[in-house]
């Protein structure tokens, strides 16, 4: 039977049990077919469950690949997959050409029990999720996807919560078994660590959150900016180091009219105990610091703060937000962690206005902003904090 895009069916509908063959046929030189074993959050929890030409077998053998010219055949033994693997997503990627150029591009399940003709649904995606097989309360199911990313493999990996260097061409040249890159003893959390249930992610469709004080005050509000570093590279797809350095800064306006800019540049670090009650914790990003950049806001004095515009700045080198995988997290006692990822509208402007924090009658309201600007002044002007820019460089 022929499946349509978006169709979801029980494998049992096709008479398929725990043993399932998934065959991907393609006709495009250089196309790579892979199977990603993902956790409940649809992220890579364990690299060993990414099965592709350089890793043709998951640890227990529940997913294995036999590559051939023009096809890739995966054998699945679903009942042997660990519980942590919630779904297996089959993908096709190409370094330079749209996957839709591939004719044929088709996925077949079992002994021709079901097939899905993917190419008709594609446009310019260089990385495509073809189908997925996933756990459901009613048993294992198959869903057809046929959607992906023009950005290719890097975008796909990032979608799955992993990191990849920007030079996929370098990957096949590296050793087939990735050498774990000097794991820092303290850094136990991989990029796909389980997320806290209390986390709020501000996204395009969900751009605002309002927080009430849980006690007498908001306590210490911590803004942290982090981005991918060469040291944290996953070995899987290899690649060279990046030279991306981001600075975190804020524009602020207090209720008494005092306005300014806090950033590493110009050493305007602010003050935690006195006005403006906002302080940057140094700017010693050397690559050894895994925690990124931090600005602390003294929540005990939140009543005196009118608003804060949070931004990230690339001040050295060519701005390439695509490479940063930047994420800003805001934490404070007794409140959910708020996260905003720098995931869209990336361009070559130096400054990314990330979020606006407003004091709305004592309620702390965070709005995702995600717009790019030439410089601090343009950002400040846009959000209506008018500064005399000569003051920006005083100590």
């Amino acid at each position: 039977m022929q499946l349509q895009q978006g169709e979801k069916r029980s494998l049992a509908d096709f008479g398929i049990g725990a043993q399932c063959a998934v065959k991907v046929e393609f006709g495009l030189d250089g196309a790579d077919i892979a199977a990603f074993g993902l956790n409940k959050e649809r992220k890579i929890g364990d690299d060993r469950y990414v099965v592709l030409f350089s890793n043709t077998r998951s640890p227990e053998g529940a997913i294995s690949l036999v590559p051939a010219a023009g096809s890739a055949v995966f054998s699945l033994e679903l009942d042997r997959l660990p519980d942590t693997i919630d779904r297996v997503v089959f993908t096709a990627t190409h370094d330079s050409r749209p996957i839709g150029d591939s004719r044929p591009l088709a996925v077949t399940l079992g002994n021709n029990a079901a097939s899905f003709d993917v190419a008709q649904y594609l446009s310019n995606e260089k990385a495509v999720m073809l189908v997925e097989i996933y756990r459901h309360s009613s048993g294992w199911r198959v869903g057809t996807i046929a959607a992906g990313f023009a950005g290719g493999l890097a975008s796909l990996i990032s979608h799955f919560g992993g990191e990849v260097a920007d030079a996929p061409a370098a990957a096949p040249a590296s050793a087939p078994t990735p050498a774990p890159a000097a794991p820092a003893p303290a850094a136990s959390a991989p990029p796909s660590a389980p997320v806290s249930l209390k986390k709020v992610t501000l996204e395009k469709g969900n751009p605002r959150v309002s927080l009430q004080k849980t006690g007498a005050s908001f306590g210490e509000i911590i803004l942290n900016l982090n981005w991918s570093q060469p040291e944290q590279k996953r070995g899987l797809f290899g690649g060279g180091p990046k030279n991306v350095d981001l600075d975190l800064g804020v524009m602020f306006e207090l209720q008494d009219g005092y306005k300014g800019c806090i950033q590493g540049l110009g050493r305007s670090f602010g003050d935690y105990e006195h006005e403006p009650y906002i302080q940057l914790s140094g700017d010693d990003r050397t690559g050894a610091v895994s925690t990124g950049e931090t600005i602390r806001v003294n929540g005990r004095h939140f009543d005196k703060i009118k608003r804060i515009g949070v931004f990230a700045l690339i001040y050295e080198g060519v701005p390439n937000w695509q490479q940063t995988d930047g994420v800003v997290r805001m934490t404070m006692p007794g409140q959910p962690e708020i996260e905003i990822r720098l995931v869209e509208g990336r361009d070559n402007s130096r400054l990314c206005g990330i979020a606006l924090i407003n004091n709305v009658n004592g309620t702390l309201q965070v709005d995702r902003h995600m717009q790019y600007y030439r410089d601090q002044k343009q950002f400040a002007d846009d959000i209506g904090i008018i500064l005399r820019w000569a003051a920006g460089s005083k100590d």
Partner: protein, 193 residues
């Protein structure tokens, strides 16, 4: 714990919440993460009579008609403050204001421009609709739209009605419509421009 609805099933909301008068139907889904046109899901409500037709065109409540004439059904539009719970669209129903000839309120969910964009419920992640007690915000029933009717871009989600005993009940319909919101509205007796 809210009742998880499955196709064809019904549940008395008044049993879950004695004295229930008003409910909110909330609709949510995940932002599209792959390339391509965004997913725009819309909730709409039809207040219908015995024959299954709308009481009047004004009793088709959706993004272009936000309130039924007597104010019993109100479209909440995009909810931009739905942090945590994250309903993206809401429809409120006040059963005490419904006209006497209103037999039931049918709630539909459609993907805006779904046919042209070749989008269907199966492509949208974590799409759900739920019924909430307006009085205390407690969730009474929930329906996962992503698994059923996955290849359609419009579906009748639930019907809410009063039982002969006066209970407010919800019935899961889960019927997909090929022809989108326009076809659905016509079938419900709405005079479309």
């Amino acid at each position: 714990m809210a009742v998880s609805l499955s196709k064809g099933g019904n549940v008395s909301l008044s049993k879950e919440a004695p004295g229930l008068v008003s409910v909110t139907v909330g609709l949510g889904w995940d932002v599209r993460k792959t390339d391509g046109a965004a997913f725009d899901l819309d909730a709409s409500a039809f207040v219908v009579d015995e024959s299954g037709k709308v009481l009047s065109d004004g009793h088709f409540v959706f993004y272009n008609n936000k309130t039924s004439p007597e104010g019993a059904v109100v479209y909440g539009g995009d909810n931009t403050t739905g942090a945590g719970e994250g309903d993206d669209e809401t429809i409120k129903i006040d059963f005490s204001k419904l006209p006497a000839n209103a037999k039931k309120v049918t709630i539909a969910v459609t993907i805006y421009d779904g046919q042209a964009r070749r989008q269907n419920f199966g492509s949208v992640q974590n799409a759900y609709a739920r019924v909430i007690n307006l009085a205390d915000g407690k969730e009474l029933a929930r329906y996962d739209l992503s698994e059923d009717s996955s290849t359609n871009a419009a579906m009748v989600f639930v019907e809410l009605y009063r039982s002969p005993q006066g209970d407010i009940k919800v019935k899961a319909i889960g019927e997909g419509w090929e022809s989108g919101l326009a076809g659905l509205a016509s079938a419900m007796g709405v005079n479309l421009a």
